[in-house]
């Protein structure tokens, strides 16, 4: 077999992987704060995935504990496995009145402590300051990383910087919007287009493979009959 056959096989494997990434994006069409994954082919045999961190559209829910981030940055949460970062602002209160994600991760304040609230009826301003009956009780931690820091997905709507020593800093320009949720940052139609593109590319590689195979066959046939 010629090298072309292997190249075509590799090409189809890569397109298969790309489809896996697209299907994960589409499966998360209703996941708040979800960031779409993209596959990048740097050269023929080398590929990598990355999360596209663009802003998702902000949907109004009128629920006081739903908060969306407009701009760069993350909320900081504490889980049993340590501190993680998230863009999903569908917060709720746990049985002890602490602000948490639906999966139980505790939302941290600027002082790196869990936030305890009396009730859901709070006002959260653009800086993430939480007001109960007009008194400021706490402030949400909203942090960002240097653009060079790559964020790794951990599932459960959580992110973690891939470098251990990455330094977080306050996201001063980011706006916290109460009563809203950030939706997944892709539109279904675009993702479907990528899916069709993937399938056609896959088909093309298979056709290349078939053509090479056919050429070989004819070559063998002619050599034998001569």
């Amino acid at each position: 077999m010629r090298i072309g056959s292997y190249a075509a096989a590799l090409g189809s494997i890569e397109q298969g992987k790309r489809l896996e990434v697209i299907s994960n994006n589409l499966a998360n069409a209703s996941t708040p704060g979800f960031k779409r994954e993209e596959v990048r082919f740097t050269d023929f045999i080398y590929e990598e995935t990355y999360s596209q961190m663009t802003q998702g559209s902000v949907k109004t829910t009128s629920n006081p504990l739903d908060v969306a981030l407009v701009g760069d940055g993350y909320f900081k949460v504490q889980t049993k496995e340590g501190i993680f970062y998230t863009r999903a602002g569908n917060f709720t209160l746990n049985a002890s009145g602490q602000l948490s994600l639906p999966n139980g991760a505790l939302v941290l304040s600027k002082k790196n402590l869990p936030i305890k609230l009396e009730s859901e009826n709070v006002t959260i301003d653009e800086k993430g300051r939480i007001m109960e009956n007009g008194n400021e009780v706490d402030q949400l931690a909203v942090v960002q990383f240097d653009p060079s820091v790559k964020m790794e997905k951990r599932g459960f709507n959580l992110f973690k910087p891939s470098q251990e020593d990455a330094k977080e800093q306050e996201a001063n320009t980011t706006i916290v919007k109460q009563g809203s949720l950030e939706e997944a940052n892709f539109n279904i139609v675009e993702e479907m287009t990528r899916m069709i593109d993937t399938m056609r590319a896959f088909e093309a590689y298979q056709k290349t493979f078939q053509t090479l195979h056919e050429e070989d066959r004819q070559l063998i046939r002619r050599t034998v009959t001569r």
Partner: protein, 260 residues
Amino acid sequence: MIKSLWTAATGMSAQSLNMDVIAHNLANAQTTGFKKSRANFEDLIYQTIVPPGAETSTDTKTASGIQVGTGVKAVSVQKLFSQGNFVQTENPLDLAIEGKGFFKVLRGTEEVYTRSGSFKLDADGYLCDAEGNRLQPEVSIPREAVTITIDAGGKLTALDQNGTALVTQTITIYDFPNPGGLISVGKNYFKPSDASGEAVEGTPGTDGLGTLLQGFLENSNVNVVEEMVNMIAGQRAYEANSKIIKTVDEMLHIANNVKA
């Protein structure tokens, strides 16, 4: 590629749950004291095939590696306790809570909580809800009572025809640290759970509790238009996930036909 099939399946089952929740909300668009729910989703664990920062050759490192996600899961169906609209009924025993709080009623031997305040009197003169379960703590109205007034602070006064007070009693309401964690048991009732925390008793209008409104009922907090929009979005996402399955099927078909 086969993984995509399962990933798309998680997407379809998530959207199907989403649709179930929306359907239940819409079905209860006119139920007194009903609180809408919302399905919360999160992405599943990622398979790291090449970790970010792995060495690709002696002097280059990957900038982001290869992470492939495995789909989505529903993490919770959260009840949203926003205020419903008030409907005036002019029935003196109809009560609406303006703000936080629940009425407690005794169902059999079990204490359950509700926002639905359409009370009436049972055969023995006790305040009970539409199901005939008595409001807790029990309130008894004597037969001679002609007018019953309940003020914002929950103070109930029953007067006879001469205007003399026969009974004065305070209706207390209850609140939870996390109402979103309550368990719905149907018939507008909620039960506390480990996630909701213990019920805290209080007088209406104190400690952040809501006030009572006599002659009104609280309508469902479902916004029909909002649910319709969510339904359309959910249907499209479901469709997109089903297309992934179809695409994988076609690709596998192509692969199987390479050898003609």
